[in-house]
């Protein structure tokens, strides 16, 4: 499995046997190396520097630079085609808190389309950005409340390495059970107590509640640059402070398709309680060129995929 450090030497013009690098796969490959040739050492040194630079690029941290005369991308996300199936569930627990207006069911908010076709809660962002403006994501997206058994906001944006603040405004037991790139499971039995946790891996986190509130769901994106926006109820989004260039703009939306369901019959109440588990999220890409100080418009049409 391990290569041997083979002393493959070459007798140089000065008569000295210099040992070549060992088998690269051998963790001991630095091994014993007789360096007699200063030029070889210089070459080696510059290659170490280059390799280190190349390797560190692979895990490039976002770097904040001055963006003068940055451009803007605005646009809307609209639905096209037949309206999709919405998922609603009956309120089967704590109706006094979870259904204060007497509603018997709760929509799971997986796909919000206005009458004019505007799609809310779509995350729009630039792909592959490693430097740019200072972080300016809204604080409200790093703060989660559980109110009337509903996550507010439905979509969170947390910069990588930063904290999410969580609390419950309900006087009943909730827990926030995360899966995805974060795996925290945190309880909320006490109203208004705030808990914070950091998010170290970028990607998507799904949130659910195990305390009987099977309809509670939300999505959290841990992001490694600030060029993110979320469409409002009119389907509008705006990304500012963009250095001039050509970008891939991606629209991300959580899936509204139920991949499978988890059903249990509550022996006490004789009710069947079902939690839907949703499929993978969906993305749509477009290319846009941003000029200094100018606004580029991008329109997304999303539909059943």
């Amino acid at each position: 499995m391990w290569g041997r450090a083979v002393a493959r030497g070459r007798r140089g013009a000065n008569g000295v046997l210099t040992q070549r690098f060992g088998d690269a796969a051998n963790s001991n490959f630095m091994g014993r190396r007789v360096v007699r040739n200063r030029q070889k050492l210089a070459c080696l040194g510059s290659l170490i520097a280059t390799s280190w630079a190349v390797a560190s690029c692979a895990w490039a941290q976002y770097s904040v630079v001055t963006v003068s005369n940055g451009g803007t991308i605005t646009g809307t996300v609209k639905w096209s085609g037949a309206r999709p199936q919405r998922v609603t569930l009956p309120i089967t627990k704590n109706p006094d808190v979870c259904a204060p207006n007497g509603n018997k069911t709760r929509d799971l908010e997986r796909i919000e389309i206005a009458p004019d076709g505007a799609v809310e809660n779509t995350v729009v962002y630039l792909k592959g950005v490693t430097s740019g403006k200072a972080w300016d994501l809204p604080e409200a997206r790093r703060s989660l409340d559980q109110k009337n058994c509903r996550y507010i906001p439905h979509i969170m944006l947390v910069p990588k390495g930063e904290n999410l603040s969580m609390k419950s405004s309900d006087p009943i037991l909730h827990n926030i059970h995360m899966t995805g790139v974060a795996l925290y499971n945190l309880p909320f039995p006490i109203k208004d107590k705030v808990i914070q946790r950091p998010f170290q891996r970028d990607g998507v986190v799904d949130l659910k509640c195990d305390a009987g509130h099977v309809w509670m769901n939300s999505e959290l994106l841990v992001v490694d640059h600030p060029y993110y926006a979320i469409t409002d109820e009119h389907g509008n989004f705006k990304i500012t402070g963009i250095p001039a260039g050509t970008y891939t703009v991606e629209a991300w939306h959580e899936s509204w398709h139920v991949a499978r369901t988890e059903s249990m019959i509550d022996v006490d109440t004789h009710q069947t309680v079902t939690r839907p588990v949703f499929a993978e999220s969906l993305t749509w890409d477009q290319t846009v060129t941003v000029s200094p100080g100018a606004t580029a418009k991008v329109e997304f049409q999303i539909s059943e995929k």
Partner: protein, 273 residues
Amino acid sequence: MARPRHAVQALILWPLAMALAFSGDAMGQTATVNGMTGSAERGKGLYRTFCVGCHGVLGDGKGENGVFVIGPLQDPLPRNFTLGLFKCRSTPTGSIPLDSDLYTTIGRGIYTTYMPPWQSLTPQQRVDLVAYIKTFSSRFKEEKPDEPVKIPAETPNSAESVKRGEELYQKTLKCFECHGTTGHGDGPSAATLRDNLGNPIKAFAFAEGTRFKCGSTDEDLYRIFMTGLDGTPMPSWADYLNSNQAWDLVHYLRSLMVNYRPEKAAGKQQEKK
């Protein structure tokens, strides 16, 4: 000519070397427990002999014996190591376990499940297995475990301590929601509980059980509710309890455990290491 040839060789070998070094050769994974160092290379042979039947060649819990594991008592499936998600840890919720956590689980087994206590393996063999198990998930390369939960000395048990624990269980923390007001695992939310894989899972029934899956002593119990059992609905209560309150809760929970015999608990006997 000497210079160009060496340069060319270096240009090929160095990037290759760096690429390989940074890709993290899995068989270089090690584990350290109690002064012993385990190697994934040695662990792999042991895994292929002892573990692969349930946990599978790919470490995903889909070994050929796995299909027989789910039974009427809702035995949990063999762990899927590729998720890097473990119940029995001394680290806070969301964190990977310590090497010693995995080592302890192998030696102790998981009571009421098909995971036996592997006392037939030497401590060194168990440490080697820990090193190999860590190769199944990139979390062990990319993340460091968080600081383990500190467990101070147990406070004295007393009627007052049990009473304070009862207040925590029944009122403040609302443990009864899953575990039931009498600790039978039949709380209002109990029927809807599912683990991270979507399989039904039961809340521990203190009124019936004797040992826990992640231990049997008072310290183990303290650790379980302070770290939470990741992969299950059981959360971490570390944000709600100082150590005195936590010991009060332990004392109350023990008062629910009518089948528990302290003198038979592993903590009182020689704990098998």
